[in-house]
């Protein structure tokens, strides 16, 4: 088990090695156009312990709509794994992804605010 995978399991309780790379999460995801890598690939990187996934946009674009979690044939909560990837970054000192003060909240759609609530770093 890679160190990264262990950390992810520790945070969200999901065993990323259950994933057999069917791609259902990526197929159902509505935000893949904005992502620099697809959700199933992000999981593959975690499996291999490739920490570069932490620097990618994929987990931050994730809106936590849970379509991936609902349809995962291995019963993985993919959204929780994305959350865990964010958490790892958030817990690093001085890390700021989203500055609320600079964001125009009124223009944001509801789901974005809900999702972003998990991404605030103050």
């Amino acid at each position: 088990m890679s160190e990264l995978a262990e950390r992810v399991t520790e945070i969200c309780g999901q065993n990323v090695y259950s994933c057999y790379q069917c791609g259902n999460c990526s197929a159902g995801c509505m935000f893949t156009d904005e992502m620099d890598t697809l959700p199933h690939q992000a999981i593959a990187r975690v499996q291999k312990g490739d920490a570069s996934v932490l620097e990618m946009d994929v987990s931050w674009i994730c809106a936590s709509c849970f379509v991936c979690s609902v349809r995962c044939p291995r019963g993985l909560d993919v959204a929780a794994i994305m959350e865990a990837l964010r958490e790892i970054k958030i817990r690093q000192k001085g890390f700021t992804k989203l500055d609320l003060r600079k964001t125009d909240l009124e223009k944001l759609p509801q789901i974005a605010i809900t999702a972003a609530a998990q991404k605030f770093t103050w």
């Binding site: 069917c22 990526s26 197929a27 890598t37 044939p73």
Partner: protein, 658 residues
């Protein structure tokens, strides 16, 4: 400590084996012999290099004859290795095989310890405990019971047909029962079979007809198991036969009744893609070759309303009989083959694929009917919604299989049959564009990989690696939301029709049947074999065998092989004059039984009954596990040759007190 109480009639011989250096290097067999000779029951002890060799066995035989031994201990390797060998040896010297015991001083002594002193001490204890056991062993003979030389086969699919024919051909009577109105099962619905593309009907219908005409086969359709009692060789079975309402002997298949019948319902044989009448024949080649009435759909059950088919000018031979009654058939069988087959997983459980909402999202068996020359569209695949010939079609592999939310197992045949579908479809619609969404291609079977390659090369099928997330309809087109995990891109594909490769699941009611027959089911409700490698067609209940997709998802080849294996196992029983059963069974001191019925509740084999309110062991059912012995609060049950008294003395001997 009291000396072990031995009747002076017991004369035990001990034979310690060196096993070359395997035992002798760590254990002083000379000392073992000296020590055991101190035991009052031991009249002979010796050691030899290889006890299992011919001269070694000769030593044992000679000693039994010359010293009139009543029991033999062989201190050697594990009983799993040579217990049978040495029991045969003593049998040759006219000693009962249960008067031979093994002390395991190799696997559990010389091979696992290094200190010669301690290992030898342990060997003495092990041998002495075997002595304590054997002097209290009864001389037993296998329990023999008669049997009914007749087999029951449950399920009339290709597995049941094959098993029934094999047993019947060997000259034994067979009763074949089938739940639906005809034998043939799912195989009769198939267009062509992979990888050879044999026409399914062409290879199956001759077998169906053979079943109908075989003098040794008694066929009961529309029948199910009501109750099973008894044990191997002597199963007593009650079969419930539902009324057919048309007498098969009189029906001449003129189809006049069908023409006048006013009721139309979806056809089961065509998987709901066509309509049939309330009086119908499942398909023209059905066996028995006769119409029947679907009582749930028919109006004529109250003849005031309809009854058109029964009118003399319609049914000339007067085959229609509204007064037909349910029958109970009781019979006895020596062996039973369970071949109850599969169903497709219900696609409405896969909400995101919309099979219950969109008519053009169909199941693989429905597509099979569309490809079949005898199918609802005459062999030209037309989509259900508007009967147009689809040009662009998508196959979804693993639709519900390998999926924790549905069926966690791989359904084994979907990859190959989806490839077959693609090939047959391409032949019928040459300008078709075929997409296949897969996770892995698992074409495991003889020549399957060649077949997949042929399909890839001939059809130009687009294999896309990635599971489909959602299917929906928009503007008369079916949209498939997928991903290509190899090209890292999401796919939104517009197609005319989608075929779902659904997993095979055991037929409904399998739990009920398994309960009635005392056979186990696994976590996915498939029937559980005794051992996956060594006993793949035996159930845990002796005399009941498992064939086909009821045991696990499998293709026709494997199904037929299993059916043949079942037939051979069943014949192994039917050809015997008597059934042998191990005699080391539980027995009850009935006089002191307190009638608490504890033993009945713990027995895994329902081998204990009460007679006059006292527990009574049905010896042929008892497998000798001894669970009842340790559960009996009154301590009146004991296990032959493994009694509580024996265990007590063995413990003392092992503690070095004897």
């Amino acid at each position: 400590m009291e000396p072990s109480l031995v009747s002076d009639k017991e004369k035990i011989g001990v034979f310690a084996c060196h096993c070359g250096r395997n035992i002798a290097a760590t254990i002083d067999t000379e000392r073992v012999v000296e020590e055991v000779l101190k035991h009052p029951a031991v009249v002979h002890a010796e050691h030899y290099e290889y006890m299992c060799s011919d001269p070694g066995q000769e030593l044992i035989e000679t000693a039994i004859r010359e010293k009139r031994l009543t029991g033999v201990i062989v201190a050697a390797c594990s009983p799993s290795l040579h217990e049978v060998t040495f029991r045969e040896t003593v049998k040759r010297a006219d000693l009962n095989i249960y008067k031979c015991e093994i002390a395991n001083i190799r696997e559990q002594d010389s091979w696992v310890h290094e200190n010669k002193e301690k290992a030898t001490e342990k060997a003495v204890k092990l041998t002495k405990s075997a002595i304590e056991k054997i002097i209290r062993n009864e001389a037993l003979s296998p329990i023999k019971v008669g049997l009914h030389k007749k087999a029951l086969v449950i399920g009339g699919g290709v597995a049941g047909i094959r098993a029934a024919l094999d047993i019947a051909d060997a000259g034994f009577p067979v009763v074949l029962i089938e739940k639906t109105a005809t034998v043939g099962g799912h195989m009769a619905q198939l267009a062509e079979t992979f990888p050879t593309l044999d026409c399914a009907s062409c290879i199956l219908t001759p077998l169906m007809s053979a079943v109908a005409h075989h003098p040794n086969i008694e066929l009961h359709t529309l029948s199910e198991i009501e109750n099973v009692e008894g044990y191997v060789g002597n199963f007593h079975v009650r079969i419930k036969k539902h009324p057919r309402y048309v007498e098969p002997d009189k029906c001449n298949l003129c189809n006049e009744c069908e023409n006048v019948c006013p009721v139309a319902v979806p056809s089961e044989f065509d998987e709901g893609l066509s309509l049939r009448k309330a009086v119908f024949i499942p398909f023209p080649q059905a066996v028995p070759s006769s119409y029947l009435i679907d009582a749930n759909a028919c109006l004529g059950m109250s003849p005031l309303i309809c009854g058109k088919c029964a009118e003399p000018e319609v049914c000339g031979p007067q085959a229609v009989n509204f007064d037909d009654q349910e029958k109970i058939i009781e019979d006895d069988f020596g062996a039973i083959v369970v071949a109850t087959g599969y169903e497709l997983y219900n696609p409405t459980n896969l909400g995101e694929y919309g099979a219950d909402v969109y008519p053009d999202v169909i199941t693989s068996l429905q597509f099979e009917r569309l490809l079949s020359p005898s199918g609802p569209t005459g062999g030209i695949p037309r989509r259900p919604s508007d009967e147009k010939i689809p040009k662009r079609i998508a196959f979804i592999h693993c639709a519900g299989s390998r999926d924790e939310r549905h069926q966690p197992y791989c359904s084994h045949i979907c990859c190959t049959y989806s490839a077959k579908h693609a090939l047959l479809f391409k032949e019928l619609v040459p300008d078709a564009e075929i997409h296949s969404f897969y996770i892995d291609i698992r074409a495991v079977g003889k020549n399957y990989e060649d077949f997949i390659r042929r399909v890839q090369e001939e059809t130009g099928i687009h294999y896309t690696r990635g599971k489909v997330s959602r299917i929906y309809e928009q503007d008369g087109k079916v949209k498939v939301l997928g991903v290509d995990t190899l090209l890292d891109e999401r796919i939104e594909l517009e197609v005319d029709m989608v075929v779902l490769a659904l997993p095979m699941v055991p037929f409904q009611g399998v739990k009920d049947l398994a309960g009635k027959m005392r056979i186990q089911i696994d976590g996915n409700n498939f029937l559980q074999e005794l051992h996956p490698k060594l006993h793949p067609v035996e159930s845990a209940t002796s005399g009941i065998f498992l064939a086909g997709a009821a045991q696990s998802p499998k293709d026709i080849q494997d199904t037929v092989s299993q059916a043949g294996a079942c037939a051979s196992k069943a014949l192994g029983i039917l050809t015997q004059e008597k059934i042998s059963h191990i005699p080391t069974v539980a027995n009850v001191d009935e006089e002191n039984c307190s009638s608490c019925r504890f033993c009945i509740s713990v027995c895994p084999y329902r081998a204990i009954k009460t007679i006059d309110d006292k527990a009574h062991v049905e010896e042929v059912l008892c497998e000798g596990c001894g669970i009842c012995v340790s559960a009996c609060p009154s301590g009146v049950i004991d296990l032959r040759n493994h009694t509580d008294k024996q265990v007590g003395f063995m413990i003392k001997a092992l503690a070095g007190e004897i």
